[in-house]
Subunit: 493 residues, 2 copies
């Protein structure tokens, strides 16, 4: 090992080692796109912990040989999950974009930090330009405003709550939450749990995060529920989160309607577009976020619908200066005012982080490589695929849709009803048995390694499958495969 | 572009493209370790924004060619900063570990997410085993406890405050900060600003983060200051942060002494070892953190002193269950209780994040490759180098130490006094002129691209250089070079 760089004469062994690693990685990439490869080779935790042949997770005192390190790399991939596989539909983030991958490899090689222009000049400017472009696409005049890339949608949503609080009650920063009136946050019951997590973390309390009733498609409900609640409430309504693309149903809250209420009651409007923000890139689908230009802040995760490798999430804020005001502590050792360059380019004091990973480059590089129209094509294609799926199963024997109507996003939610349950009337026994169907099919899928799709219960609905498509490698044949696989695995349940 | 995977017959062009990217990256790696290469090729923001020859940061509608993408990759590296260069001393994180780099490349290729065992089985287990190992090294019995990797030390510190609050006032989670007594957090004035940021974000208010006076080495001061303050205080003391390795001075707070007070006053003890935690790996230096086994939580960033690529930060908690209790929201779509495997391995509900980047693999792989003793050797070597630097400049003409005595960590803080100021008595004019010396030398360093080292003022001390060493590529000759370079650039100021 000691013969790798920076060791003397380490150049040759280093190059050789890196090329061997790359060989492992490119083989993995090649196989990921090959449908004859399994999506995963499932093992239980205890199996992996006991150690597979030649693969031992335990750390030790003494170094291992470079040969063993290469074996470890191979095995780590072998026992993992191919999230780029055309038949991996398990999460909102899927796919393996080759340009994005190259961008991440470069990012790791550059191994720097976003806090100052000083050590990340190119990345800081790329971030600035890309955020501006995103604000233009949202529709804020001249793309003015502010923003920052954060380590994920949950943190981006947390930023929105922090900034809203700072805007209306700046004294909370210095004096804390006990110095301000009791503040409430609104979000729909189908919104992402990170709004509640933010409420808990930031000192509002989960009880002051009010979950508005809404139906599976959220249409109109969020708005009416909100107004009713506001009128009966004694506390100060601070913030409303409108979800653009709910996690399970892919529903879009009516932003314009909510924006009217926010204006009327002087509340901050945040749009959580972590999942649905990507639709802004599509002239065909962006109307689903109509009104987003009225938002005070927007969460938008390119690592979901736009296929950018993990992690890549932006929080965008319409009013300039709030992020900085809210978070700055002016640490002298990082943000010296007497540097030789224009220090307004230093981004660190806007962040709740100190060091911040470079998440921008892969996204910037993908944008360069695809152009805006490339993202549009990707989005349109994914939505066409989900429409194909919907049309295929909506009247198919053994399938029941969780909600009627064409999907607004790529989410298609359905039950598979095995033959044994098909004649049975809706009763407790049927519900109990149906509840167990999706987990059983999922377990068999994972054990056979052929495909992966998520399931969950929701409210009074028993476990159902949630299909989502963001993988550019997926085709109609993969959708067909999924349906047939569900039928194959589920027919005897 | 459309001929890359998943395009039909995309395998060949994809492999070719990735190998061309790797060629750019390996060339960069090779040059990074070559001292005849510059550390950076400095340009002002407006220069890069106007566009360098063939390098344009603007994003457009239409795709670019793959050839241009390769040029963009080359130029992005060209105008960046080589943080792995043996003469880059600008941040606490420096160096480019080849094994860590390979680990990051693999991580990006796997492109998955830490929230469930389901989609990151190997990484989740690696995280669990590595955290246990770290807890053993801290000295908690049998390595019991909990922890998670977070997107950086600031977020890790934020976790510690959240968990402390949850332990003593669990109702804050549901009812918010207005339902609990006024709580105060203690930390030394030389601690990292993230404690204040956490106070602001989590609803305590910055005024309730009490900064304890301490000297440059923190010895004994934190403890006494704390007791005096506690006795005069009417509020509820919740939390004390003891810094193990301050950012500027590299000083270690007396943990044992602070732990006594925490026991006496029933307060949570957090040790911020983001910078100094790595010293636990060294039998020679770990005594500087003596008492850390009494902490309730510890922040420890392997991406700093241990040379792991960015980002890699752990928050470790002695009591099991608190992280989960504090953060869980039980989202049904991710954390189904009826999965086929043991779902206690799912980590997502411990986190304030939803998606979480895989930060563990590179660290695990480095540990495998170096062994525990490899990290020990690295730490010892860096501390020897800083001792070498200290001995070299402590009595050297034109250098003044900011604090006397051998450095506790690798931080060596000093003024360079140009000949024109050497005879001058300590007066306002001398202070003003000396204040400008470090920024001027730093600007010249960056423009000539030969080396980089940080500077800052602190309290009533005018700008001084802060040298830190965590780069395994640095040698005595690089320390010599830095000193000579400062003298060369500063002699006529």
């Amino acid at each position: 090992l000691t013969n790798l760089l920076p060791a003397k004469n380490g150049e040759e062994p280093t190059m050789q080692f890196l090329l061997e690693v790359v060989d492992i990685l490119t083989n993995y990439v090649r196989k990921t796109f090959d449908r004859s490869t399994k999506v995963l080779d499932f093992h239980h935790p205890h199996q992996l912990l006991e150690g597979m042949e030649g693969f031992n997770l335990e750390l030790s005192e003494q170094p291992e040989s470079l040969e063993q390190i290469l074996v470890d790399c191979r095995d780590t991939l072998k026992y993992g999950v191919r999230t780029g596989h055309p038949r991996f539909f398990n999460q909102l983030s899927s796919g393996l974009d080759i340009i994005g991958l190259a961008g991440e490899w470069l990012t790791s090689t550059a191994n720097t930090n976003m806090f100052t222009y000083e050590i990340a000049p190119v990345f800081v400017l790329m971030e600035q330009l890309t955020l501006k472009k995103m604000r233009e696409i949202i529709g804020w005049p001249n793309g003015e405003g502010d923003g920052i890339f954060s380590p994920g949608g949950a943190i981006s949503n947390m930023y929105s709550v922090m900034v809203a609080r700072y805007k209306y009650f700046p004294e909370a920063k210095t004096k804390g939450m006990s110095a301000v009136p009791r503040l409430v946050l609104f979000t729909s019951e189908h919104s992402h749990y990170s709004i509640k997590k933010s409420g808990a973390a930031l000192g509002f309390g989960v009880e002051n995060v009010i979950l508005l009733k809404s139906d599976e498609r959220c249409v109109k409900c969020a708005g009416r529920g909100l107004e009713n609640t506001l009128q009966s409430l004694g506390y100060v309504p601070l913030f409303v989160n409108a979800t653009a693309g709910t996690t399970v149903y892919g529903a879009f809250d009516p932003i314009d309607e909510i924006a009217d209420l926010c204006e009327k009651y002087n509340m901050w409007l945040h749009v959580d577009g972590a999942w649905g923000g990507g639709l802004l890139m599509s002239r065909k689908h962006r109307h689903k976020l109509s009104g987003i230009e009225r938002a005070n802040s927007v969460t938008w995760n390119p690592h979901k619908m736009m296929g950018v490798p993990l992690q890549c999430s932006a929080i965008l804020v319409r009013e300039k200066g709030l992020l900085q005001g809210c978070n700055q502590m002016c640490a002298g050792y990082l943000f010296q005012p007497d540097k030789q360059y224009d220090v307004t380019y230093d981004t660190g004091d806007k962040a709740i982080q100190c060091g911040r990973h470079v998440d921008i480059f892969k996204f910037w590089l993908m944008w360069k490589a695809k152009g805006t129209i490339g993202f549009e094509q990707h989005i349109n294609k994914c939505l066409e695929l989900s429409e194909y799926l919907y049309n295929k199963i909506k009247d198919r024997e053994g399938f029941e849709m969780v909600f009627r109507g064409e999907p607004q996003h790529t989410n298609v939610c359905f039950w598979y009803v095995p033959p044994s349950l098909r004649g049975m009337p809706d009763c407790e026994e049927r519900r109990e048995r149906l509840h167990k169907v999706a987990p059983k099919i999922k377990a068999m899928m994972m054990e056979s390694g052929t495909t992966m799709v998520g399931y969950q219960p929701q409210g009074d609905k028993v476990n159902f499958f949630r299909m989502v498509i963001s993988n550019q490698a997926a085709t109609k044949s993969d959708i067909d495969f999924l349906i047939e696989e569900i039928e194959r695995l589920g027919q005897d349940l």
